[in-house]
């Protein structure tokens, strides 16, 4: 056995430099970090928009749908990567067909349609796995993620798709944000709200398929929602929020890959747990800060009879 692998199996020596070097001496770990980094950046940017657009449920469904896609691909003997993307993009188009309100906002039936798509997709996934016949391990991998088997080819595919998606977002980002925050006015200004909404679902589908390949279909939220939601707790500035979301995403992925390498527990668990902890800290910190400021403002108001707004120069991070 390779001495480095046996060293890895022996556990960390708790010297960061030595442990990091031992971990990155293994090619599969290098690829895991490469794939994780690409996916974290993409998920953080797309997730920030998704959280603002309140399309988390759609995002979750698009991720879940990548499971039957991948299962079907394996059953048919095609690359699982193709299956992930095919499933998510097909589901994105189905959800895009749901009629919308005038201002581009989803109507109430959207969540019902999405839920239906999701249940059907999961059932199809179970079917494909059973048709394929053996190797139950692959279900766990598809649903809860595995980072051991990321090939060089997959890393390249992830990079290409992520670059394409980010390029599309760079072009449509500003009108998309306008349509998200203020659909009626955006439409009156000639922003194609409906087209942007479909484009964003496709972007979301590609992203969900990418993230699924690292975290598994069920744990996509760990990277798509948690960093973005935590960043939005901290700041309401668009540029700062996006940047912070990326920083959080990278932190979660790098930390969880490192921890998972030395622990017997799956990487999906670590990604979700670290992401959840991050969100709790951000939300708790914001709540505490708001309360503290309010108390401060009340105290000063009774003293000086001034409006609380005048005493609050911009909220958290503004």
């Amino acid at each position: 056995m390779n001495p480095l692998v046996s060293a890895a199996l022996a556990g960390p020596v708790l010297d960061p430099v030595v442990d990091l070097r031992r971990m990155l001496a293994l090619h599969f770990m290098v690829n895991a970090f490469r794939a994780g980094t690409v996916v974290a950046v993409l998920a953080a940017v797309v997730g920030w928009l998704m959280v603002l657009r309140r399309q988390s449920f759609a995002g979750h469904t698009l991720a879940v749908v990548s499971f039957p896609g991948a299962a079907a691909a394996i059953w048919l003997g095609v690359s699982a990567t193709v299956g992930y993307f095919a499933g998510s993009i097909a589901a994105a188009l189905v959800i895009a067909l749901v009629p919308r309100g005038a201002a581009g906002r989803p109507r109430s039936q959207e969540s019902a349609v999405i839920g239906t798509v999701q249940a059907f997709a999961l059932a199809c996934g179970a079917l494909f796995v059973s048709l394929y016949g053996g190797f139950l391990d692959s279900i766990t991998g598809l649903l809860f993620g595995s980072f051991l088997g990321v090939s060089d080819g997959q890393v390249i595919a992830l990079v290409v798709v992520a670059a394409a998606v980010l390029a599309v977002l760079a072009v449509i980002g500003r009108p998309l944000l306008f349509a998200t925050v203020d659909g009626g006015v955006a439409a009156a200004r000639g922003v194609p709200v409906r087209v942007l909404s479909v484009l964003f679902l496709l972007v979301l589908g590609c992203t969900a398929a990418e993230v699924s390949q690292v975290t598994g279909a069920l744990l996509v939220f760990a990277l798509l929602v948690m960093p973005a939601a935590a960043a939005q707790q901290v700041t309401a500035r668009p540029v700062a929020g996006l940047a912070l979301s990326v920083v959080f995403g990278l932190g979660v992925v790098w930390a969880s890959l490192s921890v998972a390498f030395w622990s017997p527990w799956p990487v999906g668990f670590w990604v979700s747990t670290i992401g959840f902890a991050l969100y709790l800290v951000a939300a708790g910190g914001r709540a505490a800060l708001t309360r503290w400021r309010r108390r401060g403002a009340d105290g000063r108001r009774t003293a000086g009879e001034r409006r609380p707004e005048a005493l609050l120069p911009g909220v958290v991070g503004a």
Binding site: L52, R174, P175, V181, G184, R189, Q233, A236, V315
Partner: protein, 298 residues
Amino acid sequence: MTDADAPTPAVRLDDATVRLGGRDIWSHVDLVIRPGTFVAVLGPNGAGKSTLVNAVLGAVPLAGGRVEVFGRPPGEGGRDIGYLPQRRTFDAGMRVRGVDVVRMGDDGDRWGLPLPWGAARRARDARVDEAIDLVGAGAYAGRPIGEVSGGEQQRLLIAQALVRSPRLLLLDEPLDSLDLPNQAAVAALIADISRAAGITVLIVAHDVNPIASALDGVVYVAGGRAVSGTPDEVITTPTLSALYGTRVEVLVTSDGRRVVVGQPDAASHHAGPHGHTHGHGHDHGHDHGLDHRPGGPA
């Protein structure tokens, strides 16, 4: 509204008809709004006030007649028009600052990423700051828009509509959902801006009284038709009775407020479906129905 050889009207409707979902919302409407005037669109719920604004925006096609905005077909004057849709408030979870919302009014419809530096960026920031100062929103523009009050949101949205220095401001129920002091303050703000900058303002309102003193004219939409003129000409017992086709009475209180009594609501006029279909149609759903009630203000 006397001289016929005035400059090109800000808004002109010639024999205009809008038909939505198989019924005429209003028909054969003639209307001239001169540049720089402050005009209110009044009428009962569901009479087609928002539809009138949408027709001027070019968002609703005409079934007959013509609409012109500064002498051009509607929809071509995008930069000339500032628009405030019927509101929508931002809920508390909307984590975008007021200043970002105002900025979107300036360049939110442009593709690609904005350059973070340069003269264009400085000019844009100056326009945004100016609009925010104009509505007096400087103290809270840096806060997330979901966390400021309804009146503060409305001021920020007016700043958003103003940021490109439009020549025509279309405001759909900007006073709706504001409490009385805020209604008066926002109405005064709009009137001041209109006068100071020479902007034509078309404001859809429930109640003429908070804005009456600033108005140059009113358009009263009811019964599938519309009449325009000064408030004293239009909000009168004979004019409104003719418009509704039934007897309504206008009372003038000692302080000059006009109250319409015995006003039938729009739904009884149109046999069509109750929830009308022009896309902004939540007129019926709310319970603010001041003018639904017989005896409510005009």
